[in-house]
């Protein structure tokens, strides 16, 4: 999928809103909530990623259960742990 700009949230059909905000105000609100721009960092990281590297993780039972479990699923937190010599962000 091509990822540009607003990729974080999707098809919110059940968000209730009884207000009269403007798009300008919505943007101001988002700026006010946090100055950080994680989308930009994500674009940089994914641009450097090599196809196929790490894909095995997406097939692990832990990830598959975490990503598709229902609300009654207890283990809702995953910690992906990298050793000191082998970065979880960088190969070395």
């Amino acid at each position: 999928m091509s990822i540009n700009g607003n990729i974080n949230s999707f098809n919110y059909s059940n968000v209730t809103n009884v207000n009269i905000g403007t798009p300008d105000e919505d943007n101001q609100i988002r700026e006010w909530l946090s100055p950080l721009k994680p989308q930009q960092r994500h674009q940089g990281v994914r641009a450097d990623r090599l196809d196929g590297v790490g894909d095995w993780f997406l097939e692990t039972n832990e990830f598959l259960e975490w990503s598709s479990g229902g609300d009654d699923f207890l283990e809702r937190v995953l910690f992906c742990s990298g050793g000191p010599g082998v970065g979880k962000t960088y190969l070395w």
Binding site: G82, K88, W92
Partner: protein, 211 residues
């Protein structure tokens, strides 16, 4: 020679990303939405040693909330709080937490990815873990994925008792893909021959698997 080159390289700051679980997870979840397989709301943050000043727990969780309300209608309580922003102090952690807790139930299942949690300052990390514990406890639809060095594993477990740990290290296949890509971009290709290429592809994965 290869071994020496590798150890020299490990002593320097490495700049080429080759395995990043968070970015894979983020893209994978986006793909599920795009294909219509699953409706979800997604937010993330990459913690960074170099951004300690900016990455307080308040700013990190604010960035999570900002992403969750990046499309769709702005929840009314956030708009109301914004309109009162000049009559009180600036945003504090409890303000962000209050807004997060009221926003998450309005959304599809919420997925939060925090990359390199070990790179947050100890204070930010503690506040972040405490806050995410509250969110997971109070919002059954919320789930969180952290990546981090193994030395913060105990700290994460202290706050999030049901956490599942997945050890991550590059497989032999990962390393060979990476090496192949690096050799393709070799700036001195005339020094390469088949024998050296084969040695590199054989020896370096062996050395890394020993680390």
């Amino acid at each position: 020679m290869v071994r020496t080159a590798l150890s020299e390289r490990k002593g320097k700051q490495m700049s080429l990303t080759s395995i990043n679980i968070s970015s894979l997870v983020i893209d994978s979840l986006c793909d599920r939405v795009a294909s219509g397989e699953k409706d979800l709301a997604l937010a993330w943050l990459y913690c960074d040693f170099l951004a300690h000043q900016e990455q307080s727990a308040t700013a990190i969780l604010g960035a999570i909330l900002r992403q969750l309300v990046s499309v769709g209608d702005m929840p009314e309580n956030i708009r109301e709080r914004f309109r009162k922003r000049f009559s009180d102090r600036g945003l504090r952690l409890p303000d962000i937490m209050g807004m997060l807790k009221t926003t998450i139930p309005l959304l599809p299942p919420v997925y939060i990815c925090i990359d390199a949690v070990d790179e947050a300052t100890p204070k930010s990390r503690q506040e972040l873990l405490e806050s995410l514990r509250e969110i997971v406890r109070e919002s059954p639809s919320a789930r969180v994925l952290f990546t981090g060095r193994s030395h913060v594993e105990e700290e994460v477990k202290k706050y999030l008792t049901n956490v599942i740990t997945v050890p991550v290290s590059p497989t032999g296949g990962d390393i060979r893909v990476y090496l192949g890509a690096r050799l393709e971009r070799d700036t001195e290709p005339y020094t390469m021959d088949d024998g050296l290429w084969k040695d590199i592809m054989r020896i370096i994965p062996e050395i890394i698997s020993e680390v």
